[in-house]
Structures are given as structure tokens and as C-alpha cells.
Symmetry: C3
Subunit: 302 residues, 3 copies
Amino acid sequence: MKNRSLVSINDFSKEEILQIVDLAAKFEENPNQELLKNKVIATLFFEPSTRTRLSFDTAINRLGGRIIGFSDASSSSTTKGETLKDTIRMVSNYADLIVMRHPLEGSARYADEESRVPIINAGDGANQHPTQTLLDLYSIKKTQGTLENLNIFMVGDLKYGRTVHSLLQAMSHFNPVFNFISPDELRMPDEYKFWLDSKGITFYEHTEFTDILSRADILYMTRVQQERFADPLEYEKVKNIYILKNSMLKNTKDNLRILHPLPRVNEINTDVDANPKAYYFQQAENGVYARMAIIASILGLV
Amino acid sequence: MKNRSLVSINDFSKEEILQIVDLAAKFEENPNQELLKNKVIATLFFEPSTRTRLSFDTAINRLGGRIIGFSDASSSSTTKGETLKDTIRMVSNYADLIVMRHPLEGSARYADEESRVPIINAGDGANQHPTQTLLDLYSIKKTQGTLENLNIFMVGDLKYGRTVHSLLQAMSHFNPVFNFISPDELRMPDEYKFWLDSKGITFYEHTEFTDILSRADILYMTRVQQERFADPLEYEKVKNIYILKNSMLKNTKDNLRILHPLPRVNEINTDVDANPKAYYFQQAENGVYARMAIIASILGLV
Amino acid sequence: MKNRSLVSINDFSKEEILQIVDLAAKFEENPNQELLKNKVIATLFFEPSTRTRLSFDTAINRLGGRIIGFSDASSSSTTKGETLKDTIRMVSNYADLIVMRHPLEGSARYADEESRVPIINAGDGANQHPTQTLLDLYSIKKTQGTLENLNIFMVGDLKYGRTVHSLLQAMSHFNPVFNFISPDELRMPDEYKFWLDSKGITFYEHTEFTDILSRADILYMTRVQQERFADPLEYEKVKNIYILKNSMLKNTKDNLRILHPLPRVNEINTDVDANPKAYYFQQAENGVYARMAIIASILGLV
């Protein structure tokens, strides 16, 4: 992976994904490193994202690296009319690696073409967020002991949610069964379903939580946002259907773990938090180790 | 103090306060340390505060630690509807210690209940700002040679000023005499006066500067803000009464030192700045050493 | 230069300028240093400037130093009514060196009078931006092998552009010939032309690109901003005249290099970027080494 950018989860092969997951486990055991001594990493957030930015900043600091950057575009030269191309060229002359989040789909790929140093895509609009996928995979491996043959439930906005699309693609290496739970308006897009068909991967679609939840190994929750609905009445009809409550977890498997990319608003009731199957805060912590693994791999330091 | 949060100045005993003060002196002698090597400290400023943030950032850097965080809530996930509880849970999975400022009273105590790591309250609304109190105490000890038996004058907004309330409580360990100078609208609240009575501590109240200033060891100035007055005419009447001018310091004691939590607007005339009794900028510097002492103590590194 | 501030390029003699240029070359060869171990540098940006801030932050990090500061005034105490004087006094009690950008002309000189530590002016309004000048000089020396006897073309807004004024003054140590290309409204001010006359330095003025460009060693481009024109029609007349296109470089010298302080908007066509004579992105990189040299010199670490 040395000197390669990570723009899409599809940039990494199954073997490379497994390498990252294994390396993340090693960094979790020994999180304080000096591997990035004398390295400067730019974290360019053209749109704000506390969680992702703090997670990367923690990963870089735990690796002993130094950080330059900005946390929103208003403090970037963009406000002076500079193009993304020029900003990336400039910063790639300052830093050894660029982590970027940008609201436009495709911006990370475009940046990668202009940059002298590798780019890590920390989210480009509705498109990709591959480090989220890798931390999700690390969380799944850590809690299930394997990535193979799992029953993965995805709930909420499956139409626009980049995290579920990327996770679907990455998990497809590992012979999963998928269950999709979403309102009709926010169903998994056809392109992803065709793709699953072409790989011979089984999936089921539901419009609400059902007894079948008892089969789940992983329950991946996402938020149903009002602004996704053309008709506010449609939102009102469904808004309470996709809220996970602790009582709904009664007949679930012991190994079930609930994931969420965070931040959550109300789609997971707080009475779930104390349930040992709730795993979203540990998942966030895993993000630090996964990002340490990604950065160290791309910089060829491991 | 190891692994304990600092939410209120009352969380620390007299002995612990003295330990911090003594340790601050040691850090002032030798300010560059590596005690925080491999530690990541989060500084979460849900409302802006340059002075406090830069002071903490300096303290952490001088201790050799690493910093993650944000300088105002607009670049936090709060804007996406995340609760304080979730933000704190997440960040406490990233960092070894959280320093937080938040506009809501009680927010630091609440955060402490959710956090896996200690919390240092860097100001929660009108409630508490205990590290300010500890740097005030260090400044008093350093300039007076002792904290015992001092004549402390507090001037300005004694009703809403959290710094004077906390300092009053902390100094009560050391047998002070207090003189309060404020407009009627902004007098020291009864609850603090009852409390002083219960401890047998003498205090006097005045509505303007008087000759009695000649007895002061410490003159603690605060700002009288127009927005505290229901009637703007009342503010107009008093606004110039609580401005300290150099000429007013003629008959004061040699050991008198003037403190102010800063930023000041006009409540200390700039002609006071050159007076050797003006101590507010050194007081700000002392904040770095006091905060180094607090952080190192809480992390159990001394 | 030890312990001296850098407020104006005229603060440094010819010999000191050459020392900085030579030291920048050494840092470029060996960019990762520990010279600033245990030093805290404040970068105070009272107005945003990504490029300059990231360049300084990179320089400080590559030197092993620690950074405190803010990237725009809205997160500074200025919003609470604090004076620049008080902010500088405070920060100079925290940090070992202050880098500041401020929209007001003269603010850096004023800050220098109040500060206990050296000030580096990172731009004070239309006045000075001396570290830009030093990186420009380093770029010229590096590409031309010398600073002496060069033919320097300056294009665009020569009236308000602080970078061209400072570069003109600094280059005057080295027996240049200047060619100025600008609209009438934005000609080089008389004070600078009188000053060149007094030094016996030859200069020519043009209102558009001419064949004489074939003589240029350095072509220093700047932006012509619409807001500089009282009459929008005047701007419309000239706006396309000062745009450099690749075709215009056909008969230029092999050693010609095109500089630009960046960010550019459209004043250099992107078809120039691939021309080996385009040097503006490397120039930005040179800024890191020049700033490392300036900081290390002022702190007396070399």
C-alpha cells in the first residue's frame, strides 16, 4: 500500500483490507508510537466533521506525527477563490500525506491526481468514506472473531448513506448475508443490488424491524434524515419505525453487536447504550487504531 | 488527585490546593518537561475563550503532550445534533484527559459522569472555573509569600462573576478578610455571605473605592458589564465608578498586587499597567504553570 | 538577528538577507530538525490566510516546535473587546515567539513594542509581508544561482501589492533592472520610483506584455482585483490584458522562472502550470524552508 492513496474502499484488495485490520489490532495493543517522527500530515476539512477529524488527529498524534490543516473551508484559501487543484498542489509541497474531507463527490480522486503525496479520503460528499469502512471492518472482526459468513443487517437510510454502500462492497469479499431495513424511499439502490447478485451474495429487503433480527450478527444503524423526503408527511409516517429500542434486542444473538457511524441523533434510543451489545462508542475508538494502521501502511512505515 | 476530575474548586481540599500551588512553582522554574510524552489531551471549547485555551495549549505543549480538539462549537458535531453526552463518550475514547469549556452551568459535572477519563472544567457558564482559581491562588502565594491572613479586595461584578465566587471559597481556607466593592445591583450574593458568616470570616461591603484600599494586599478587579443591568440608566450612573486609575494607588501597601482574570476592557486604566503593583499579565503567565501542575497531578505523573 | 523581530524587510541588512537565503538552502537539504524542541510558537492570525499559516505551521513542526494560536479573529479574545496590546502582552507571556497576521497596517510594529518576545510579521494589511519577500529571494537565488544583476518583471497590481513593494526594496541590494507591467490605475507608486532613482536602479514601465518579456529572468505575477477600480468599466477593459498564457512564453529565456505569491485566481492560465518555467508551487514550498531559517535565526538556534 506504500505511497498509494486511499480514495475508495475498492482501492484496497481483500488481502490489503485484512492487513489493515490486523495492523489496527497491533496498534490497539500498543497505541503510542514514534513511527511518524519527522512527518507532517495535513488534515484538510473543507466541511466540518469533529469525529473524523479528532479521530485522525488522535491517530497522527499517537503515531508521533505533526499536524497542519484547517477544520472548515471558511479558514481556507478557498474563500479567496483558489481552486481545489491549487490548494492541493500547495499543501502537497508542505506535507508528507494529505487527509481530506470535501463536500463534492469525486473531489478526493481529483485531488489525488494533482497531489505529490498520497491522499486519504475522509469523506467526499455522498460518495466514499473508506477509513470509516475499515474501522467498521476492524470492529466486526474484533467482535465476531472473523469477517466470514456473517449476517449483516443495515438499517435506515440505505439510499444515500455512503457508509453502508462502502461497507457492503467491502464485506462482499467475505461471503455475508445482508438484510436491509429501510423505508421505501430510502431503499438500497439497484446498482448495489445488481452488484450483489453478480457476486452471488444473498440479501433480503424489509421495510421494518422483524423477528428476523434474531439472526443478526451485526446491526448497522444509520440515521433517517427528514431532508431526504420530498413529502414531509412521508417522513412523519416512517420516522419512528427505524428507531432501535433496547426492548427490541431481547431475542437477539449473544454475539450481536450494534454499530453506528455516529453522530446519532435519536435513531438509537439511549436505553440501548448500557446493553453490552451496543458497540458504537468502542467502534469510534477503533477508528483511531484503524486510521493509525492506514496512515502507517500508506507511508510505508510498517 | 490522580484520575480525579476538577469540576469545582471545592473538589480539592486545602492540602491539595497547596500541593498544586507548590507544584506550579516547580514548573515555573523548569517549564519544559516530557511528562506528557505519549499523552493526548482533548481541549473542547464549546464556546470560544482564547486566553484559557492558549494557556492550556501552552501548558500541554510545555509538558510534551499532544492536543486534539476544537475552539468553538460550530466546528463540533453539536451542529449535527449530537448530544454533549455522546460527544464526551466519543472523545473520552480518544484522549487521556478532557479539558472543556461549555456555556451551560453544570455541563462539566454532567460530562464527568459520562467520561471514561478525567475532566478539567475550563469554565461552565456562570458556575465554576477552578483552574482560574488555582492560578489566582498561585499568583497570591507567589506575590505575598503566603495565602494566610490576607486582606482581599474584590471589585466590580460580584454577583455574576464566577472567578470571585470560586476565589472566595478557596481563600476561605486561609483566614482572609474580604472587602467587596460593587454597585448595589451586582453585590456579592447572600449565599456566599452566609457561607462566610458560617466560617467566621470577616467581610465588608462598599459601593465605591474608599480610603480603606490602603489596607489591601490583593485587589481583584472584574468587569462591570452593561448587559447585567436591567436599566441602562443605572449602568450609566455606575460605569465609571469601578474603573481603577493609577492615581488611586498612591497610599496603598508596597505588597499590594492587582489581579484581573482578563480580558479587561476599560475597568483598569492603562496608566496602571506600568505600576509595579499591576500583576495581571504575570498572573496570566502563572496560569500556564498552574495548569501544568493540575494536568500532571490528575494524570498521576508527579 | 537573535531576539530581533522581523516586521519589515528593511529590518534585515543585505548580509542578513543572504544569511537567511543560505540557511534556507541548508534546511531544504535537511528539513527535519529538533532545533525548536521545548519551544512554543504562537501563530496569531487575526485574519485568515491558509497558505501563510500552513507554511509557518509546517516550518515550526519540521523544526520540532510546538504551536499555539488561532486562525481567525473570531476565535480570539478580540471579540470580547480586548485590545491588541493586551492580547500580545498575554501571548508573549506564553510563547517564545509570535507570528502574527493582522489586517491593520502598522499592527506588527505596534505589537513588537508591547511584546516580551520577538514578533514575525506574517502580513499587516497592505504594508509588509517580509517572510514572503525572503521566500521570494530564496526562490530567485535557487533558480538563477544568484541575486545579482537580474532582470525582474513585475506584473499586475503594482499599486497596492505589498509583495511587489517589499521585493522591490529587497532586490535593490542586488543591482537589478525592473520592468513594471500594470494598468495605469495600478502603476507602481511614485515613492518607490523615486527611491529606485535615488539608488540609481533602472526601471521601465509598460501597460501590457511586450516583446521585451524575452529579456526577463524573473516574471513576478500578481492579481488585478476588480475592487481596486473605481469604475467597473475600466476593470472590464484591462482584466484580460494581465493574464499570462503559455503561448506568451515562447521567446523567453531558458532561465526564466514565473513566480506568484498565490493564491492565484485566473491571472496565470492553467496551461502555464506544466511549463518548466512555472515555479509558483515550488516557490510555496520554498516558503517552508525560508520560514524555518527565519525562525531559527531569530531564536538564535543556528
